[in-house]
């Protein structure tokens, strides 16, 4: 964190513009400017424990408008990643579950296939949630917009090898 974004984090002067523009700030336990402040004060733990990083929808409004060019969105992404690597889960664990389901599917198939991804996601969270959305699923299916099995992707294997390598670099788990 300090390494990649530290210099930019230092520039923050707590103008709160990030928070003022954030479409989901009201749902955050600590808000974007507070995230940056805590990082400035060296209190990364509190940020990692927060639900805020999981609430961020990644819209880049904060970063785009930050007068000091603090890459708040990218911080949020990295913080989520760090938290997941450390196994720190938010109370509502749906976001990490989604990320895992998504990446799992991509690693398997090289592309994202919605049905396996959905299955992976709801299986690891709450199947009842899936039921709530069954009408949507059904309609998609009827309209030919949801495939039981995606087309095979030739490059799947190469992608897997590549991702293995990418993760094996020094310093990453």
């Amino acid at each position: 964190m300090e390494g990649r974004y530290g210099a930019q984090v230092a520039l923050c002067y707590q103008c709160k513009r990030c928070t003022a523009g954030c479409p989901v700030a009201d749902a955050m336990d600590i808000r974007p400017h507070q995230v940056v402040r805590l990082l400035q004060l060296g209190n990364t733990e509190r940020v990692l424990e927060s639900s805020a990083i999981w609430t961020c929808v990644g819209c880049y409004l904060c970063a785009a408008r930050c007068p000091q060019g603090v890459p708040v969105t990218d911080l949020m992404y990295s913080l989520k990643g760090i938290a997941m690597k450390r196994g720190m889960m938010p109370k509502q664990a749906t976001v990490p579950a989604f990320l895992r389901a998504f990446s799992g599917t991509v690693e398997r198939y090289g592309r994202l296939h919605e049905l396996p991804m959905l299955a992976g996601f709801y299986l690891s969270t709450d199947l009842r949630e899936a039921l709530k959305h069954r009408a949507m699923g059904l309609q998609l299916f009827r309209q030919g917009r949801l495939h039981i099995l995606g087309e095979r992707h030739r490059g799947g294997k190469a992608v897997r090898a590549m991702l293995r390598k990418a993760r094996s670099r020094k310093g990453s788990p």
């Binding site: 923050c12 707590q14 103008c15 709160k16 000091q68």
Partner: protein
């Protein structure tokens, strides 16, 4: 032409001033008054610049036009100033003292020599477009002037809009202009000017708010720029001072200002320095304009109230209910239908709110003026990275090219007083450079000897002007002239088509001679613009100018009663009768030459005082510099490096050397002023020296006060009680002596804004925020791992200083805001300290251990300021600093003539600013002492000694401390009297009269009216 004694090079006694904003005008006037011929070149067709667009000005809420239009008029009529408007600098060759400037004067299509500014062409022109002056809030014609008081008062044709230029037809203006002043075939003209020096004052532009698309400017009709808001506030603006929503013309109930739009971001890494204050001003004025209950909110980061009187202004705004929210606005959404605006923000309590506003003003920042690179290329000067003019901190008014100077917002964002100060300073530089050429190119106009009118019966001539149809279209001019013949004393009347045209002026002179007229009454337009012209005209045939009187039957009659011809004619007759009656009571007045001393007395030998002394001495004026301490240098002696990066020792020693080497400066150290008497040109001041008991009597023409200030020392935050607590001044000394504590410290906490605020209201010391940044960077240099935490109320690194704030953060310093209600608490923890404070973003109390606590203490006035204020009869302001004559337009003058101030004695400021002010004070002083004699008299008060009872009433009431009692009677020195007449109405013995406005002269107007009414020939 003059030879420069030292080098033998030619020195041309003329200067080119580029840019006719307030800075350019000030520079031009200061130069012209000190005997230098000035070309005032303005890119647009009119001078005035940004200030003409403002409504009122902070922090005094003076009406911008009230204080500026006299300057406009003064520039336009000054003998030594030639305004070249609608023009560009094409090139500048030669060198300092002897330049040739090539100028292109673009075609205006109206002949400036013929046009009287009547405005008929404008009324008749059929084509309209958005007015630039009113920023699209109203329309203007293809031929137009931007505002009523425009100078030159000559319209301009916009060829992009004019039908003649687009299609070859129309020519309505040509047809209706009674003077044939329209010249559609006019061509650009090139001219070459010989000048010794150039001052660049092209000002600045405002940030294009449309670029911040998130605020919807240009899409959301109720989002305005702050400058548009100024126009809405202006009584002479597009809505005549009503604040109305552009979308529906309804008065808004809730208005918000967004600060730092186009400032303090990555693209504009500087602070625009004026917007916090002007937003505060606009909010207060809006409150006056709107019915009670309206709400005003300013969304900001830091409130940059760093100037004199600014904090008190801010205080007042808060008391009036202006709300400040510390959150930089992110974006606006428009409510469909109502066209109101929704804003999400977080307040100080951490609540995330969405609030609806009826109107939003964007406080746009300043940017370099358009076309600046062409100007820079033409004049060969360098620009800085923001596109503003570049200069070095130790020679702040010099560009990269010798002989070319700069001032005003072109040198970086700043307010009016700072622009005016810089302009005077730049004029000072030019005065110095061109000292040997002074007076060579200007020649006072010669008039014939006056004929004696004393004791003669009044023979009044009345000239009634048609002003084309401006007057004659409403008032029966011929009737007015005919009936004026019936008035007592009138021997001659005439009516003329255009009284101010060259032909008419000549005819008038002939009539005066032929009919032996000894009083002249002009019934025409406003004395404000035309009196000087007519006065000069009568002087040319030997009539004393005070025997001239004017009746304003246009601006105050035909123009406002256009629908009532008969009544207007009656009113014009009354105005003429009144003027005639007064004219019969007028007496010739003479301004008499009075000798003066050309010596300057400078009190205080800090950087400001030394700079002022040198500026004058280098022009050949003798200077006495009085310093209380044993060595020159003042505060500068105590610093390490300066915020400009310069070594302060170097800066001091260079200055001191120059002062000591200059033959014209006499330095009296260890000395103090004990008494002073006299008036402008002729002061006598006693100076006592600590070493030598005999007092020196100094005779001098002007006084400059430069007594500086000192760092406040109280006991706040354990200062003086714990060795770990030091002031910022102490830290500077520690840095200078390389105190090992600084290298060892793990954490240093700095607290800003510490001062005697229990005893007096808070004012900002202006320098300490920047000084803190400077010292953080120094500390980080010698001890990179040391954490620096700064507790502040507002960070006030205005202008380019913002970059130092950015650098300090980049270096890792952490800045935490505190408020007056929640101050940091410092406790001893053995050798170390513990500081606890509330972190406002998190809303949490934090406690930090610190090895050193640095208290940024206020700059307070030098000891003894009160005494000096009594000795020189100059006032102190509420913070105890000396009080200038007018905080906007006379920032380095005292109200009483001949006394000036500069440096921290005026208010805390940086070395750079102290230097500028020192030069400015010198330039203003030069206006006085460069004259061979002072012309005194005219409209001044005069005492009839026999009546005076020495009651002291006048002494007490005169705002300029002019009257004194000597030998049992009041003496009013003509050289010092400002001619207000305040004492006259107050004197219980009726012993004082204001010349030219004597009681009988004022009453004559009433008598004239009464008699006319009694005669029964006018309706009443």
């Amino acid at each position: 032409m003059q030879q420069n004694g030292a080098t033998g090079a030619r020195v041309v006694g003329a200067a080119l001033v580029v840019g006719g904003g307030i800075a350019g005008m000030q520079a031009a006037l200061d130069l012209a008054e000190s005997g230098i011929q000035v070309y005032l070149l303005e890119k647009s067709p009119w001078i005035g610049g940004r200030m003409a667009q403002l409504d009122k000005t902070f922090p005094t809420n003076d009406c911008a036009m009230c204080i500026m239009s006299p300057r406009l008029v003064e520039c336009s009529r000054h003998h030594n100033i030639q305004i070249i408007s609608n023009a560009d600098v094409v090139s500048l060759t030669g060198e300092a003292g002897d330049f040739t400037a090539t100028i292109r004067k673009r075609a205006r299509y109206v002949d400036e020599a013929k046009c009287t500014g009547c405005g008929i062409c404008i009324a008749k022109c059929p084509w309209k477009t958005d007015s630039e002056f009113n920023l699209g809030l109203s329309k203007r014609k293809a031929i137009y002037t931007p505002f009523a008081q425009a100078v030159p008062n000559v319209p301009f044709i916009d060829t992009d809009l004019c039908m003649y230029f687009k299609r070859g037809t129309c020519k309505a203006c040509v047809m209706f202009c009674e003077l044939g002043a329209i010249d559609l075939g006019q061509q650009d003209q090139y001219m070459e000017l010989e000048v010794g020096a150039v001052i660049l004052a092209p000002g600045s532009d405002i940030y294009d708010a449309g670029l911040s698309e998130e605020f919807g400017f240009g899409r959301y009709p109720n989002v305005l720029t702050s400058l548009q808001f100024e126009r809405l506030l202006s009584a002479a603006g597009p809505t005549q001072g009503s604040i109305l929503r552009p979308s529906d013309g309804v008065e808004p109930r809730k208005i918000a200002w967004f600060q730092c739009v186009g400032s303090r971001d990555q693209e504009h890494p500087y602070c625009s320095a004026v917007c916090c204050m002007y937003a505060t001003k606009e909010a207060m004025l809006a409150k006056e304009h709107l019915p009670p209950g309206a709400e005003f909110t300013i969304f900001l980061m830091d409130l940059r109230a760093f100037g004199k009187g600014f904090d008190a202004y801010f205080q007042r705004a808060q008391e009036e209910g202006i709300r400040y929210v510390r959150c930089r606005a992110s974006a606006l959404t428009e409510v469909p239908g109502s066209k109101s605006l929704l804003l999400q923000y977080e307040n100080e309590r951490g609540e995330l709110l969405t609030e609806e506003f009826d109107m939003v003003a964007l406080s746009v920042g300043m940017t370099a003026p358009k076309g600046v690179s062409e100007l820079a290329a033409a004049t060969g000067v360098a620009l800085n990275s923001f596109g503003f003019g570049d200069s070095s901190p130790s020679t702040p008014l010099e560009t990269s090219r010798p002989g070319v100077y700069l001032c005003g917002t072109f040198r970086g964002p700043k307010d009016i007083p700072d622009s005016v100060t810089e302009a005077s300073g730049a004029a000072g530089e030019v005065q110095r450079l061109l000292a040997s050429g002074r007076g060579t190119l200007v020649s006072p106009k010669e008039f014939p000897a006056e004929m004696s009118q004393v004791g003669e019966e009044p023979r009044v001539g009345v000239f009634v002007c048609h002003c084309g149809s401006n007057i004659a279209g409403v008032v029966d001019v011929e009737e007015v002239a005919r009936r004026a013949r019936e008035l007592p004393g009138v021997v001659y009347t005439d009516h003329v088509m255009f009284a101010c045209s060259t032909d008419s002026l000549k005819a008038m002179r002939e009539a005066i001679v032929e009919h032996r007229l000894n009083r002249v009454v002009m019934a025409s337009c406003s004395p404000r613009t035309h009196e000087p012209l007519f006065q000069e005209n009568v002087r040319e045939v030997g009539l004393n100018p005070y025997l001239y009187e004017m009746a304003n039957i246009r601006d105050q009659c035909s123009w406002v009663h256009g629908d009532r011809h008969d009544e207007a004619t009656d009113k014009a007759r009354k105005l003429v009768a009144m003027a005639v009656a007064r004219s019969c009571h007028l007496e010739p007045l003479y301004k008499l030459p009075q000798g003066l001393s050309d010596r300057a007395l400078v009190v205080g030998g800090g950087v400001a005082g030394m700079t002022a002394a040198l500026s004058l001495a280098e022009q050949g004026f003798p200077v006495v510099l009085v310093e209380r301490e044993s060595q020159l240098g003042g505060l500068l002696l105590e610093h390490d490096t300066l915020s400009s990066g310069r070594d302060s020792r170097e800066q001091v020693s260079q200055l001191v050397e120059r002062v000591q080497a200059n033959q014209n400066v006499e330095v009296l150290t260890d000395s103090q002023v004990v008494s002073s008497i006299g008036f402008v040109g002729n002061f006598k001041t006693r100076v006592a020296s600590r070493s030598d008991p005999t007092q020196r009597l100094v005779e001098h023409g002007v006084t400059i006060i430069a007594t500086g200030g000192r760092e406040y020392r109280g006991d706040e935050h354990l200062l003086g009680q714990h060795p770990g607590v030091v002031t910022m001044g102490d830290l500077e000394k520690a840095l200078k002596s390389d105190d090992p504590r600084l290298r060892q410290a793990k954490r240093i906490v700095v607290i800003q804004c510490v001062g005697p605020w229990d005893e007096q209201p808070f004012y900002c010391s202006r320098v300490c925020c920047t000084v803190t940044m400077k010292n953080i960077l120094r500390l980080k240099e010698i001890n990179p791992s040391c954490q620096v935490v700064v507790l502040y109320k507002d960070i006030r690194t205005y202008g380019a200083r913002e970059e130092m704030y950015t650098e300090a953060r980049r270096a890792g310093a952490i800045f935490v805001r505190y408020t007056d209600d929640d101050q940091p608490v410092v406790q001893a923890a053995g050798e170390a300290l513990e500081v606890s404070f509330t972190e406002p973003s998190l809303g949490e109390r934090l406690t930090l251990a610190a090895d050193l606590l640095v208290s940024s203490n206020a700059l307070v006035p030098s000891a003894g300021a009160e005494e000096l204020s009594r000795v020189f009869k100059v006032p102190l302001g509420r913070e105890g600093f000396f009080q200038e004559a007018h905080s906007k337009l006379r920032p380095v003058d005292f109200a009483s003539d001949g006394a000036f101030l500069c440096g921290v004695a005026h208010y805390p400021k940086s070395v750079e600013e102290a230097i500028i002010q020192g030069k400015a004070a010198a330039a203003r002083a030069c206006r006085v002492i460069s004259q061979d004699e002072l012309m005194v008299g005219g409209v001044v008060a005069s005492v009839e000694e026999e009546k005076c009872t020495a009651c002291l009433t006048c002494v007490r009431i005169c705002p300029y401390n002019v009257p004194i009692i000597r030998d049992g009677v009041a003496i009013i020195e003509a050289a010092a009297c400002q001619g207000c007449g305040i004492c006259v109405g107050e004197c219980p013995a009726k012993a004082i009269q204001l010349l030219h406005y004597r009681d009988d002269q004022v009453l004559a107007k009433i008598e004239g009216l009464v008699e006319l009414m009694a005669a029964g020939s006018v309706a009443r």
